[in-house]
Symmetry: C2
Subunit: 301 residues, 2 copies
Amino acid sequence: MPHIKQVAITGGTHGNELTGVHLLKHWRSDPAQVARSSFTTELHLTNPRANGLNRRYIDQDLNRQFSLDDLNNTALLGYEHQQAKALNALLGPKEDPRVDFVIDLHTTTANMGTSLIFNSEDPLVVGMAFYVQQQLPHAKLFMDPGERLSDTFLTSVGRYNGFLVEVGPVPQGLLRADVYNETQVVVMHCLDYLDAFNRGTLPNLAGQREGFCFVEKVVLPENEQGELTAMVHPDLQDRDYQPIAPGDPFFMTLAGDTLAYTGSKVVYGAFINEAAYYDAHVGLSLMDKIQIELKSEPTAD
Amino acid sequence: MPHIKQVAITGGTHGNELTGVHLLKHWRSDPAQVARSSFTTELHLTNPRANGLNRRYIDQDLNRQFSLDDLNNTALLGYEHQQAKALNALLGPKEDPRVDFVIDLHTTTANMGTSLIFNSEDPLVVGMAFYVQQQLPHAKLFMDPGERLSDTFLTSVGRYNGFLVEVGPVPQGLLRADVYNETQVVVMHCLDYLDAFNRGTLPNLAGQREGFCFVEKVVLPENEQGELTAMVHPDLQDRDYQPIAPGDPFFMTLAGDTLAYTGSKVVYGAFINEAAYYDAHVGLSLMDKIQIELKSEPTAD
């Protein structure tokens, strides 16, 4: 694998997730923290207009607009459609990117702790997740592999389909110091990893680690008028990454009745009661627990 | 005191506080829950437009628009200015209200548990707080007495300056079942209290109970550009209603440095890191611990 020369740290991709926005401000005033001598680090606030209004987005979720087809579709004229094209020009272009690796900072209202989200089986990317989890054993690995060019995340604009750091729980529109500190620690480990990779000084990494793979989103019950009739059950609330078995309490109706999980096998919850998904009435994601393999040791040429 | 004939339960006064909005939907489908034979209960979603957009407000905070001067000021033309006038026509008018008692349902992102907020020393109002706390000893009493006609809260439109039920922590824009259930329990006690008052069957209430009285709001540190340079300190986060002594950790700068509380006496925090106050960069409210007196037993004529 070639050396990593250019790393971008991005925040405010969702404008009301303030942690990344303020870490960028901090690092701009103290660039030494994100500098590593073997590569250049750049910092980008990616949805300043939504951030200025303290909203997730203006017209559409920016972090779903980066498939190559959509980037090339001149009929898509929403604010975030345009912003994705601008970011592709700044960081990419996707077919032959200038930036090697994008680390995008997010938060969630769900009790997901520190989640490392990546959509690539590339050893450089998987190796970063394994390295960070080796330093921070409480971090969870959240993998949904796919093709980089069709991937819709901002991170897919880099040469490697990089890394989304997702920390919670924190409400939208505010800063929690614990979440701010934790996000900063994770990013330091990510940068140290890329630096060690470039220098050939990576420690031994496990060949396999436990992780979670996205299965499906689950919509909350609605009535015929499309109004919510139930919410996440109190026994499921805050139990991200815990098993959900057939028959377990799943939803609670507005009248207080329990609705059970009707699936046929054990799954695991994530993004349980994420506020950002209420516009689509999504209550949680279901995940499979998987073993993630590091197919070869990441080594620069 | 005269009998209570007409009680209004209101929700969605802040459009992204979903708990009250959905309790209203539930009670509309099951009116027996909020019915008491000695008075009539009516249910009102008070800021439907902000709720439809999942925002606290459209133009200005609705729950600051109910002073008599503002209600009579025809130059105030914002959406919530107009909505306040419409609600005053529906529930009031403030000088001679149709509705006797307004119970307004709110949530907070702060770790305030169950807070009973009222701005009146009237024995009927204070008695409700004492009664609810007798049933739910974890509930906190939050009092800021003033004149009903100049009070800016929606609850001041009723004949008695009623009661704001504030439960948290819950992020904006979502439902937590625990907060939903707790809010419902509090409202049931409020209605039972008014019913017992009308019937002359109130239990003995304490003459005095501990509570908290608003002192001032504290703004987070800013730079010359008006940008936040610090956040609530991790040792203060989630410690609502706990003492803050001179020298205690208060804020943490973006660089991680601790700023101490510089006041001269012990105070108590509330609304610590409330997302709704970030537009004004307010980090928390300071409170005094006080003894609240029930000046006479509430008794109907």
